[in-house]
């Protein structure tokens, strides 16, 4: 239950908006959920809808619109590679293809250890530094620019070691 688990957080978020514009808090509330469980399930959408006095469908539309939100579970780290036109001109598509190949997955899939999902997204505003991607995890968001498959794989290895050493029990403080 969102409302019980994050009472103070929710209050802090709601306090930022005038009461009649409560619906504006939909994005931070979605982040709250996603930080906690790495994706937004249907039940949480309904809870947010109730908190904000809007319909679940409206909440879902926001989730659907932004590539930052997920409505399906995936890897612990989401690697979002920009393959939009300018990046594609700098080889982003091959980059992603090769990266996936090396990880043994197809775009959109998750590695067998459940840690990494790789997916194509639209422009992330780093067009001149392609190939580029962002990594989204419970910890937040990080940009990686001017990438090669090799340094991307190195990063992935590093994250993998971190995840193993922290273990799932400690996962929570990672988000604080």
């Amino acid at each position: 239950m969102l409302a019980e688990k994050y009472t103070t957080e929710i209050q802090t978020i709601l306090a930022k908006y005038p009461p009649e514009e409560r619906r504006a808090a939909v994005m931070p509330l979605l982040y709250l959920v996603q930080r906690d469980q790495l994706y937004v399930d249907r039940h949480s959408m309904s809870e947010i809808a109730e908190i904000l006095g809007i319909s679940t469908t409206e909440v879902a539309s926001v989730v659907g619109f932004y590539s930052l939100y997920y409505d399906q579970p995936g890897g612990k780290y989401r690697i979002q590679v920009c393959t939009d036109l300018p990046c594609a001109l700098r080889g982003a598509e091959q980059f992603m293809e090769q990266l996936c190949q090396r990880l043994g997955i197809k775009p959109g899939e998750t590695t067998s250890d459940g840690l990494f999902t790789v997916e194509p997204v639209m422009c992330l505003a780093s067009c001149d530094k392609a190939p580029m991607f962002q990594v989204q995890s419970g910890g937040g968001l990080a940009y990686y620019e001017d990438q090669t498959v090799e340094n991307a794989l190195a990063l992935i290895e590093q994250l993998r070691t971190e995840a193993a050493s922290k273990g799932s029990a400690k996962r929570k403080d990672e988000y604080e």
Partner: protein, 895 residues
């Protein structure tokens, strides 16, 4: 007055109010600017770019502020380099719009090509084919050749059920957003939305049940492609095979104008079949919308005597024979001649002992003839209803020139004891929109309803204190204060009430809409009187957009009031005391076993039932007469806004031999009484009543020949109808926005009105309205019992009534009988949400609510509610639970 702006569109000059969009200005003078995402009822969004035009504006000299002139003295026009969207551009003085140029044309061609890059080639199997804006505009503007890469075509799911009523074909959607915008902007039910972006975008619903809105069907009308279709019509027929006939919805007092589409089908043995129900434009009634009950709930009228379900229609008269002292005999088929002679003989014998009990789904003509019969014999004409106060609406009701659609700034609407969304959805919409335009909406109710969200003042009274609550408003405005029961004293002191009363009193125009939420016949009479007093005291009577409006349970209850039908508070006694009963379009025995009485239904009375089906009451009758449904004949209904509106034959009478089934056109009434074969099939109610009457008194002023003649006779006799003729009801005038015709892309597939806009009735001024009557009345309210619960009846749009259950499609939404309990009561009774419980209805002792005598027991599902006060139980009407007024009940858990 709004300022007029003059501009030129394709060489034609037009003057339109400032702020008008170019696309609408063009429409006004019949110039086509194609649109997909724009809709005249919604805010423009400029999403599809189909409406591209060249726009030139006069050049203004900055130093002088004067227009720069060409050498020939005409103003110099500067065209912008790019095409602009006509749907988002407001008109400007001297603007020059070019929509027919090669440049505009090629812009549109590009848009079409773009839209088609991933549109399926479905037209041959698409329900929209034949009335599809995309199809039509492709033919008109599309290039003959496609540069489309077949390998890149996206494939999506083609049968997505957005709930069981509406289906989505993802491939066909062109992402115009009309459906999503309609649901949030117009009907405030944002239960469908966009998900993802770009090519991946899809329409989703997260409500439970899916697409949970009473207005969902309208999205299929405004969707410019075949992406949204109704489960009812999907793959049912091609639009060009359909005939059309104008009709009026028979489900609630709004009286939405409908067009029914029919065709003959081999599957039905060559019979005419109703394929779909569509809205027909009447901007003063339903605009271009209908609710889903009206759209999907037509089957009761269309079923036939071949129907294998329990909704098999009556096909011929039945007369009880072989009855003895120890056995009831049986109903056997008889000729009309035989049935009518039995009935007329027995009615004549009964004389003023005749009680005619009529249901409010009958037409004006039927009710008028019934009244003529009881007048001839001296009997009584009673409306079968749980809601009274009708005579007040004929005197202080709304009058010609009234239109909720014109109410706005400075006006007020008070809605009391009413759940408009459930009782009359399109009125909910119209009132909500009036509030959005600036009308002050005041809601007085004992519980929250969806309309609260739109209200400026929401006031709550304790259950059972509706009349006192209205009087509290009156008290707030007058020196002489009525003493009110303690229960409403908190409300009376509430400053919000004071403020609301002042707003109401000071409004330019004010309406009161009262319903029957949680009340019965007696209570509604008192409530109507209190409302009348408030209207009278504040001067809100006798002018358009002022007065009292009843949110009746049936479509033509208003007609019955206008024709002088009465209510009967002790109906079960009256039924038992009458010498003869003539029950038309009502099923009291089926609704409530109490009516069966001690000595069987109707006691010793001779009972005649006239209906569509062999109802419970019909099974107990001495004679059963088969009636035609309203779509098999013509006639008129009077809406709650006192608008008499005509409906036309849609299908031929069900059991008439097929050879007679001519094309039902809007101009031809089916032959009523011609030849023996037709004689043995159902007849219009007015005709049956007239034939009975004429057998009793051949001189009686009553006619069986046609609805038109009955109507005109009614106009001669009944003052309210005196300004009207049957013909005039069929008159139309130009309405805005222009819909239908050849350009379905603009307004959608709602039909243009060619069948008549109807006419509002004049107020009845012959009886002086009695607004003082209440002064002497003691103000009653329901006291909560010390033990047990009180059940309060509420309306649900989708109920288990006889006019809805034949529509299978709605069964999932209707659900099983249930009651709503307060959580604390439930805990005490050890009942959990969803439990099956026994509810025992106490005997009908309104005077001693504390006395719970055991009556009928029903088995229902319990739903729990936090908000409800203790001891209050909500019971939906027409769900097979015999509660039509506040009634003590006992509830226990089913062990």
């Amino acid at each position: 007055m709004t300022k007029l702006v003059t501009l030129t569109i394709d060489g034609m000059q037009v003057s339109v109010p400032e702020g008008t969009l170019v696309v609408d200005a063009a429409k006004k003078i019949g110039i086509e600017i194609p649109v997909f995402c724009y809709h005249p009822k919604m805010e423009p969004v400029g999403m599809c770019r189909m409406c591209l035009v060249e726009i030139g504006r006069p050049v203004i000299d900055r130093s002088t502020g004067q227009p720069v002139l060409e050498d020939d003295g005409s103003p110099k026009i500067q065209f912008s380099p790019n095409l602009e969207t006509a749907c988002t551009t407001p008109v400007g003085a001297g603007m020059v719009v070019l929509g027919a140029t090669e440049k505009a044309r090629s812009g549109r061609e590009d848009i079409i090509e773009f839209l088609l890059t991933s549109h399926p080639l479905d037209c041959p199997i698409c329900d929209k084919g034949g009335e599809c804006p995309l199809q039509n505009l492709t033919i008109k503007y599309g290039s003959g050749q496609s540069r489309y890469l077949y390998d890149e075509k996206k494939h999506f799911v083609k049968h997505v059920s957005l709930g069981e009523l509406i289906f989505l074909d993802r491939e066909r959607c062109i992402q115009c957003g009309r459906c999503v915008r309609f649901q949030s902007e117009i009907v405030d039910d944002p239960v469908i939305g966009f998900f993802h972006r770009g090519r991946a975008l899809e329409i989703v619903t997260y409500s439970n049940p899916g697409f949970d809105s009473y207005f969902s069907g309208n999205t299929t009308d405004i969707c410019p492609v075949g992406a949204l279709t109704t489960a009812d019509f999907r793959f049912g027929a091609r639009p060009w095979e359909l005939n059309k006939a104008a009709s009026i919805c028979n489900h609630c007092p709004v009286g939405c104008n409908l067009t029914m589409n029919v065709r003959r089908e081999a599957a039905s043995g060559g019979d005419w079949v109703v394929k779909r129900v569509m809205p027909r434009q009447n901007e003063s009634v339903n605009e271009i919308w209908v609710c889903d009950k009206g759209r999907f709930g037509y089957h009761f009228a269309a079923s036939s005597s071949n129907d294998q379900t329990s909704f098999k229609r009556l096909s011929q008269p039945l007369v009880r024979k072989n009855a003895g002292s120890d056995h009831p005999g049986e109903l056997v088929p008889a000729s009309w001649d035989e049935a009518l002679s039995v009935v007329s003989e027995r009615f004549a014998e009964a004389g003023d002992g005749l009680l005619a009990l009529a249901g409010g789904r009958l037409a004006n003509e039927d009710l008028f003839n019934l009244k003529q019969l009881t007048t001839t014999l001296g009997g009584e004409a009673v409306l079968y209803t749980h809601m009274a106060g009708g005579e007040l609406t004929t005197q202080l009701g709304i009058q010609p020139g009234s239109d909720i659609g014109t109410m706005g700034q400075g006006d007020a609407i008070l809605v009391v004891a009413c759940d408009l969304m459930e009782e009359a959805p399109i009125w909910w919409l119209r009132v909500k929109q009036a509030a959005e335009r600036g009308s002050q909406l005041i809601i007085l109710n004992s519980r929250s309803t969806k309309l609260d969200q739109a209200a400026a003042f929401v006031l709550r009274y304790p259950f059972g204190a509706e009349t006192s609550a209205v009087l509290a408003m009156l008290n707030a405005l007058s020196e002489k204060r009525l003493r009110l029961p303690e229960a409403v004293q908190v409300l009376e002191r509430d400053p919000t009430l004071q403020a609301a009363a002042e707003v109401f009193s000071g409004a330019n125009n004010a309406l009161i809409m009262y319903g029957s939420d949680c009340i019965g016949l007696t209570e509604s009479q008192a409530l109507a009187q209190a409302c009348a007093n408030l209207l009278d005291a504040t001067g809100h009577v006798g002018r358009p957009n002022n007065g009292l409006l009843g949110v009746w349970p049936r479509a033509n209850d208003q007609g019955a009031w206008e024709l002088g039908f009465q209510t009967q508070t002790k109906l079960e006694d009256a039924l038992g005391a009458a010498a003869a009963l003539y029950i038309v379009a009502a099923d009291p025995a089926g609704d409530d076993p109490t009516y069966l009485g001690q000595s069987g239904f109707g006691g010793k009375a001779f009972v005649v039932v006239q209906d569509l089906y062999l109802t419970q009451t019909a099974r107990l009758a001495d004679v059963v007469l088969p009636a035609q449904s309203w779509i098999e004949r013509d006639g008129s209904f009077t809406s709650g806004e006192r608008r008499a509106q005509r409906f036309y034959p849609v299908i031929p009478p069900r059991t008439a031999p097929v050879s007679r089934a001519e094309s039902p056109s809007t101009n031809k009434a089916p032959l009523l009484i011609a030849g023996d074969e037709v004689m043995e099939s159902p007849l219009p109610d007015f005709a049956i009543t007239a034939m009975i009457t004429l057998r009793i008194d051949s001189e009686a002023r009553i006619t069986a020949s046609s609805a038109a003649r009955v109507f005109n006779q009614m106009a001669e006799t009944v003052p309210a109808f005196s300004d009207q003729t049957y013909l005039e009801l069929a008159q139309v005038h130009e309405q805005w926005p222009i819909v239908g015709r050849d350009d379905l892309y603009y307004g959608g597939t709602s039909y243009e009105n060619t069948g008549g806009l109807g006419m509002q009735l004049a107020l009845n001024t012959s009886d002086t309205p009695s607004t003082t009557r209440l002064a002497g009345t003691t103000v009653e309210f329901i006291r909560m019992p010390k033990l047990g619960q009180i059940a309060f009846p509420i309306a649900r749009l989708y109920d288990r009534g006889k006019t809805l259950m034949p529509s299978q499609l709605l069964h999932e939404r209707i659900g099983e009988p249930y009651i709503v309990l307060n959580v604390n009561d439930a805990e005490m009774l050890r009942i959990q949400d969803g439990d099956v419980v026994h509810m025992t209805v106490a005997n009908r002792e309104p005077d001693s609510p504390d006395r719970v005598t055991t009556g009928q027991t029903v088995v229902v599902q319990a739903r729990l509610d936090q908000e409800l006060p203790e001891r209050v139980v909500l019971v939906p009407r027409s769900f097979g639970i015999p509660i039509d007024k506040p009634t003590p009940v006992e509830i226990r858990r089913t062990e």
